[in-house]
Symmetry: C2
Subunit: 424 residues, 2 copies
């Protein structure tokens, strides 16, 4: 039988198994679409992923529950019951047509950490909880990180009235998921119950690859604002309205989008600005639009740098709108200040990376992460894993199995370091 | 009882009744949406409108049938059976959130013309057919005027594979409407059976109002092209991709939209260019778009002027895309050459307008109309009716009842003139 021999799946090393599990979750029923990975918050694909995650958490020795905000939590008790927990996790949702590792890999690595401890029959002076946050990306509803905010106790309950592109409210989406009458306060944790939060995540940028390093330690997460710009003119017939009599918000939006690009390209301190969504209304071939809406996502290493850019962009759009007699509203949908990692935990994580034989690169994160929200509840640390070409939010997202194995080892070493620190 | 007296609805003059009927059809069930008029092709709102139109046609003395392309046709026989017909009509569909008179008024005026002849018990040496075309606007499927093309025998049957925004094919939409296995050739008319085509329509422009005139006679319909532009770059994470490493099709589309505006504003000969639909894909706040698509509608009084503008715009977009390393496709979806009205019929219509005491203004039409398609089948003439502020494709679309009464008289006078010409 040796001609057809395949590797025994139980022999896949932990860490590499985490990666393989992300691959498994890259297609239906864990994706909404057949030929891509789209797993948005509270969809049947999200439900299917939680079902299999729950099985894996149980197999690794955890007790599993779904909290009031649709976060799946597996708990591995410490040496004493009800000990405070080290939480390890990330998000299980994806953007539309996204990559397989963004978020999910951090959850799977958490499961593999507990599995290693359980196999070794080790109990620690603290519990470990692995958490799969339901919504980090905000790819279904306008706000993001609703689920980690619920855990941190910082969510604004009015988000329940937000609507998705089909007009469904978040509240109704929870009900359709099996969670009617959501009370976010039931998902909130007491700070004394959470010792620390560790998030492992793909870098989603090119720096680790450029330095030929598997792992990085995050010093801080960039400040971010999400805004919606709405320009209003006069709808009209495309064939009968002379060019000079038009009040078309389309070219005004075009000038505004170029202003976002120009101002952000001229900036420094990690400044980036993105227009990801553009809609002309009513959206017919033969109708001059009455309104054009577009989203703006602006980030920088500091809130001050970000806010200066938002102010410059807004002033420029005001000038454009006034010159063209176009109405303008700019709505702030989300404001996340920069979030420095906890210095003590970060040192423990750097030491852990070092112990695996990898030189730890200290770097900021341009992407927002649940860790920045969890920082309101507990000290946080973040481990970055190299990703190919820095590509993310894209089906071409790719990681290396050997990097995942090293990441798993570093996380176990971090747990050892935390145990030593905790006993001291 | 005189304090609460209301005008007897049977006393509303013909023409004004046509306008009142358009108002009635401005809300559900004749609209898809509760607070606006949206009546797209083959929707339940379209069906509801045809049901009541059929009743009105019957009451006016016509026999009614639905043809193979979902056109509703009422026929009022001439003095001999199977005589060739003067067709009078326009379209019954609307753009999204459109006006009540665009298209519908021409159908209702046709019914009122037959009603006047039937009340007078007049039979003519030709039949009169009133037609309500199902799709002129193209507000559901990418192509427009599919229904008048079917009557003229010029429709391309591959349009049946076109899809609406929900992914439904035109073929399936016909089946859902009760017309499975559509064969457009069954809707085509022989040219000997159609003596002439007369379309009354609101001007959708400001010229009649500026001249303080109720009616105009159309000399020609402008040439029109519809195109879809697709710009492709590289999707990526909004937070981690530095500005200088992006291949974002959004700013490229923005430059292209400004080029459309600049080139058309600098042109002459009625040149207009409109970007009515803009979509960024995947369309998430935190994802750099991988592609941006937008529609272009370009019109001018001659095909040559229109094609020169399309060529200049396309060359400019090619330059923009090349400079930004962005992929580009430009797809031609529709090509309608300029369509001059029939000179004999137009003179008969001018005389008819004159006979009502209105000075007829001769003017070109910037908007496309079913008449330009019907010109392939029979000689055509078009009557324009003043509309307030030139506003159309907009809920603010407005006409005057007295103008509709005069339009009705002019159409009856045209029928008299055609009868005289026909006997001569």
């Amino acid at each position: 039988m040796d001609g057809g021999a395949r590797p025994d799946p139980t022999l896949i090393p932990l860490g590499a198994r985490a990666m393989a599990r992300c691959d498994l979750l890259g297609a239906p029923p864990y994706s909404e679409a057949p030929d891509q990975l789209t797993r948005r918050f509270l969809t049947p694909a999200h439900r299917a992923a939680l079902d299999v995650l729950g099985d894996w958490m149980c197999e690794a020795g955890m007790t599993v529950r779904l909290d009031a905000a649709a976060n799946l939590i597996g708990r591995y008790e410490g040496s004493t019951p009800d000990a405070p927990a080290l939480m390890i996790g990330s998000h299980i949702d994806s953007v539309r047509n996204g990559g397989r590792y963004d978020g999910a890999l951090g959850v799977m690595l958490g499961i593999d950490c507990v599995d290693a401890l359980a196999r070794a029959k080790r109990r620690l002076p603290f519990a470990i909880e692995v958490i799969a946050f339901g919504d980090e990306e905000g790819s279904r509803f306008p706000a993001s990180m609703t689920c980690s905010r619920a855990v941190a106790g910082t969510v604004d309950p009015t988000v329940l009235t937000m609507r998705d592109a089909d007009g469904m409210t978040l509240s109704d989406a929870f009900a359709a998921f099996g969670l009617p009458s959501v009370d976010f306060t039931k998902a909130a944790r007491k700070s004394g119950d959470v010792l620390a939060f560790l998030e492992a995540h793909i870098e989603q940028g090119p720096r680790l690859e450029a330095e030929d390093l598997a792992l990085g330690v995050v010093t801080a997460i960039a400040a971010q604002k999400r805004l919606m710009v709405r320009l209003t003119g006069t709808a009209g017939h495309a064939g009968t309205t002379p060019m000079h009599l038009r009040r078309d918000p389309g070219p005004a939006a075009a000038e505004a989008i170029l202003a976002v690009e120009r101002i952000c390209a001229a900036g420094s301190g990690g400044l980036v600005g993105t227009v990801g969504r553009i809609t002309a209304l009513p959206g017919a071939f033969n109708v001059i639009p009455g309104a054009v809406e577009f989203s703006m996502d602006v980030r920088a290493e500091t809130s001050a740098a970000r806010d200066a850019a938002v102010a410059a962009i807004t002033a420029e759009i005001q000038t454009i709108a006034a010159r063209r007699s176009i109405g303008l509203t700019v709505e702030l949908l989300q404001d996340l200040p920069e979030s420095p990692s906890d210095p003590v935990l970060t040192r423990l994580l750097e030491d852990a990376v070092h112990a695996t034989g990898v030189q730890p690169l200290r770097l900021p994160s341009g992407a927002g992460h649940d860790a920045m929200v969890m920082a309101d509840l507990a000290p946080t640390a973040m481990l970055f894993i190299r990703c190919k070409g820095g590509v993310s939010h894209n089906p071409a997202e790719s990681v290396r199995a050997d990097d995942c194995v090293v990441a798993h080892r570093a996380m176990l070493a971090f747990i050892d370091n935390l145990e030593r620190e905790h006993r001291a």
